[in-house]
Amino acid sequence: MDEAQGYVLLTALALPLLAALALLFLPGERKMAARYFSAVIGAILLGLSVYVFLAYQASGDILQMRLQWPWIEHVGFLGANGISLHLGVDGISALLTLLTGVVAFAGTLIAWKLEYRAKDFFILFWVLIAGVYGTFFSLDLFFFFFFYELAVVPLYLLIGIWGSTRKEYGAMKLTLMLVGGSVGIWIGIFAVVHEAGLGTFDLPTLWEAGRNGALSPEFQKIIFPFFAVGCGVLAGLWPLHTWSPDGHMSAPTSVSMVHAGVLMKLGAFGIIRLGIQILPEGAEFWMPALLVLGTIGALYGAIAALTQRDFKLISGYSSVSHMGYVLIGLATLHEVGVSGAALQMFSHGVMTALVFLLIGALYDQAHTRDLSDFGGIAKVMPLWVIAYVVAGLANVGLPGLSGFTAEFHIFVGAFKTYPVFGGLAILAAAIAAAYMLRMFGVVFFGPLNPRWRDLKDLSPIETVSAALLILSMLAMGLWWSPFTDRLANTVVNLPGVTS
């Protein structure tokens, strides 16, 4: 059974790659074919992701659906299982898999409108998605890093070709910063594999090594920052977050969705997978620092968002703020806090994906994203406004939507461990209300600016994907035990996590 499920993961991993390959041979003119094909792939992936999430046994082993193929072994310094295609999910990655499925599908639908070099877009898009799945599934350091990079690199072209404002700058900066971060991970990998001296990249083995002292505490303390900062860049760790506003500002809609929705989570996920699980001691030692940075990020992002005048900048900064929560949650190393972090990854993922979807839908018609240009568009785009309000309220952490569930857990964890920072985090949530409502007031309500009299409301396709995202937000917001149950076992058994 487990083996068989492992092949599900393999499928979810291979499918996008094959899709990209297939598209490669599709003549570029046949846009429609590319779209339908991608939509189908996205739907299948969504199905697989949902299956993975549901099939993950809350009460079973921590790692499930494992599948291990020896890849490179008994050569050079590599021993048995030196590098193996080792797939599997734990509670956290199962949740994030679901997230990926949802966001990817929504993103595919949104990319429907794309006209310019549509085929190339989908090729890169699927490569990106494959990278994301791979990172979540990999239980082998080599492949983890493989897919991690794979997920980052296509962004350059995706933004550079199809982007909007200052796209070249944004694309280059984003790519360089993210890859720059992965340099840190790289160094960490070298050090860990060398220090463990087992001649293997197999993660479970290395976790064991981290636990049983094969990696000395001093070593762990030295190396943890490499992982933390390396992944932190992708997770929007302050002050290495600046790619987020610019990158999002330039990125095309569906890329922003996937990027802010899923990719940023790779960073936080990496901190768990590499940082906490391989180097528990180091994690324990450094977490306070991470906590401080996370808190700064949460407040900083929220405050900076207060006065932005560009939709995407607001969401960019609020992403920084929310990923700050994730970091806070992780830094608590408390079972509730860490679960909260995982929940927040999901919540922020769908929420921000929805936000970018809507911004895109507006920008495509209005060709401006300056708040002050708008006003009263609730009159012409009711659906759009409702969706945006839902997203915004989730952003604010309103009960009944996923944001509250996640943030609540984070706060609880934070108060258990670092009350003061918990308070600051909650304060940031209040500020979030301020900038969100400010935007509502300026853009959606008030007298309708006649310039926008003939804006169109969400198209059916957009409505579908928006509905999908809203649904998942409500699901987590109203009845979150299915999520927490799957997380509980994993989180509680993370090394160094207290109760």
Binding site: T242, T307, V336, S339, G400, P419, D485, L487
Partner: protein, 630 residues
């Protein structure tokens, strides 16, 4: 039935979903569905009440909860607890909700987003009921936020009006600030006791689970939440602006139910407050200041709804004072009565606004009693009840509060609260006189004014009736007629019951207060004369302006937000652009590029230079390694 009281909340919840989904398509945009739902809830309440009383004191509170989630040692249960306080709240909510729903059918006719209005109304009712039913603070907080949301939506119902949007925003954010405190308080409780369940928390605290200072701090945070919702100083600013919403909404949310959530919360946690050092004193002070302050401000308001709003704030202050004195009974009783007559007054105001075609400035009204007698009559009853005329509802509850303060806080508080009572009577008189009596100020307004239809006057009458009789629940006899002997206070205040006895001295006193206030008001404003008032105003123009400008609170906040908060935000964004991004990130990139630029000039393309590099390199390597080696 009582253990399934959650159905009360479920019904309007479902109604909300149904109407939000399909309301526009329904015939009459589904207002009948709303009314139906409200009636059903009203009926269900009596079922609950019956079974609750049937179970008898020993079975109270009626509990019913399920495990929600568990992460490791972190367990979270959700459920309901029904006890007398809940029952009182249920009574108020269901009754007023029904009235308002009915009234709205008339009031909102032909307004934009009719269906949406009713849908949100149901959402509000659902979450309000959930709030009072919740057995744990987390669920309470959830409901707390949801009522905030529906309030936000209803205040901003006319979102084409900038002012409405601003008001909605103000309400949401102001209360939000309080909510932050509340959430912190809740989590602090959990941190100390490991549970969110209110009864367990009380039990733990009584067992001394939390140190004194810590408990005090926690309670202050909780109080913040309560003050935010109940618009106590300094969070009161949002409530008057909230009058931008449709008037029935003001009646339901901003007079009868939501705003008293804070009072409810404090009452609910009073046992904890009592143990938390001077927490109760703080509650009293807050209440007193609010009562006096807003009483004064109410003098200078000219918009009838604004006057009512400030009077609401002031009355909430009364309730806080009562609670601060440690008398849940008094507080809850005033909540109970106030809900009815204040709802009555607001609906009456609504009727006036409809009748006078959306004129609500006293300056343009006056002499309306001829045109709309029923409204005038009911409004009069409401006013008298508010002012505290014996034996109307308001009288008894205010009497209770005076008594409570005298008993619990001593004379200084007693004096102040009496002063507040006088003010109440004063501005109420002013309001009524200037609106209904005297000569019409604005001829054409008066000429077009007309009595609204039964659909609106009906609720007025019913509420007027309640405003008269509700006070009698204070009497044990009257209470036992309805199945809870011992009367309201005992019913609510199970812990150390106090049998109510009419203290005639106090009755006399409060009547005196009423008389002073009312006749003061009458003396100033009788049949539309304003000269005496203007004399006062011109005697101290500064003071007058200060009062009219609500003691500059809003201006102060505005200044704080614009200058401090936003300024700081600009600062941060600037820092982010220039320091972090341009200098830190791009700077390092530029630096790297520049290093390359410098370096490339070594590559002169001339053989001798290259050879030089080689030779120099060799010499360097040799010398270095010789130096290192030896």
């Amino acid at each position: 039935m009582a253990e399934h009281a959650w159905i009360l909340a479920a019904v309007p919840g479902i109604a909300f979903i149904a109407m939000a989904a399909a309301g526009r398509k329904l015939p009459r945009q589904g207002d009948w569905l709303a009314v139906l739902c409200a009636t059903a809830v009203f009926a269900l309440f009596f079922a609950v009440l019956a079974s609750f009383l049937g179970l008898g004191e020993n079975a109270w509170p009626v509990l019913n909860s399920i495990e929600w989630t568990a992460i490791g040692d972190f367990h979270l249960n959700m459920g309901i607890a029904v006890d007398p306080i809940t029952i009182v709240m249920l009574a108020v909510i269901t009754t007023v909700a029904l009235m308002v729903n009915v009234f709205s059918v008339g009031y909102m006719k032909g307004e934009p987003r009719y269906w949406w209005y009713f849908a949100v109304l149901q959402l509000f009712v659902a979450s309000m009921l959930m709030l009072v039913l919740a057995d744990n603070l987390l669920l309470l907080y959830v409901a707390w936020e949801l009522v905030g949301l529906s309030s936000f939506l209803l205040i901003g119902h006319y979102w084409e009006r900038r002012s409405a949007v601003e008001a909605a925003k103000k309400a949401f954010i102001t209360t939000r600030v309080g909510d932050v405190g509340l959430l912190i308080g809740i989590i602090l409780f959990w941190d100390a006791t490991g549970t969110f369940n209110i009864l367990e928390i009380i039990h733990y605290v009584e067992a001394g689970a939390i140190g004194d200072t810590r408990l005090f701090v926690t309670m202050m945070f909780i109080l913040l939440g309560a003050m935010g919702k109940s618009a106590q100083l300094p969070f009161h600013v949002w409530l008057p602006d909230a009058m931008e919403g449709p008037t029935p909404v003001s009646a339901l949310i901003h007079a009868a139910t939501m705003v008293v959530a804070g009072v409810y919360l404090v009452a609910r946690l009073l046992p904890v407050f009592e143990l938390a050092g001077d927490a109760l004193l703080v509650v009293t002070m807050v209440g007193l200041f609010t009562a006096l302050f807003s009483g004064v401000v109410a003098f200078a308001q000219t918009d009838i709804k604004k006057v009512l709003a400030y009077s609401t704030v002031s009355q909430l202050g009364f309730m806080f004072v009562a609670l601060g004195a440690g008398f849940v009974g008094a507080g809850m009783f005033h909540l109970f009565t106030h809900a009815f007559f204040k709802a009555l007054l607001f609906l009456g105001a609504g009727a006036v606004i409809i009748g006078a075609h959306h004129h609500q400035e006293m300056g343009q009204l006056g002499g309306l009693w001829r045109k709309m007698p029923i409204t005038a009559a009911t409004f009069l009853i409401g006013s008298l009840a508010l002012a505290g005329l014996f034996p109307l509802a308001g009288f008894w509850s205010k009497d209770e509060i005076l008594h409570a303060v005298d008993y619990g806080r001593g004379s200084w508080a007693f004096l102040l609260i009496s002063l507040a009572a006088i003010m109440t009577a004063f501005y109420t008189a002013r309001l009524f006189i200037r609106t209904f009596l005297g000569k019409p100020q604005d001829a054409e307004v008066a000429s077009h004014a007309s009595e609204p239809g039964f659909i609106m006057t009906g609720p007025l009458v019913f509420l007027a009736f309640l405003s008269i009789v509700a006070g009698f629940f204070i009497f044990g006899g009257f209470g036992s007629a309805f199945g809870f002997p011992g009367g309201f206070s005992e019913f609510v205040f199970l812990h150390h019951p106090e049998v109510f006895h009419v203290d005639w001295g106090l009755v006399g006193l409060s009547t005196a207060l009423f008389v002073i206030g009312t006749f003061g008001g009458a003396w100033f404003y009788w049949n539309g004369r304003l000269d005496r008032a203007t004399v006062i105003a011109e005697w101290q123009p500064k003071v007058y302006e200060m009062v009219q400008r609500k003691f500059y609170f809003d201006d102060l906040y505005q200044f704080f937000i614009d200058r401090v908060v936003l300024g700081f935000s600009y600062l941060v964004s600037w820092f982010d652009r220039f320091a972090v991004n341009d200098t830190g990130v791009d700077g390092s990139a530029t630096l790297t590029g520049y290093a390359g630029f410098l370096l490339k000039h070594l590559q002169t393309g001339r053989v001798p230079n290259y050879a030089m590099a080689i030779a120099a390199g060799v010499v360097a390597l040799t010398l270095i390694s010789l130096a290192v080696g030896s």
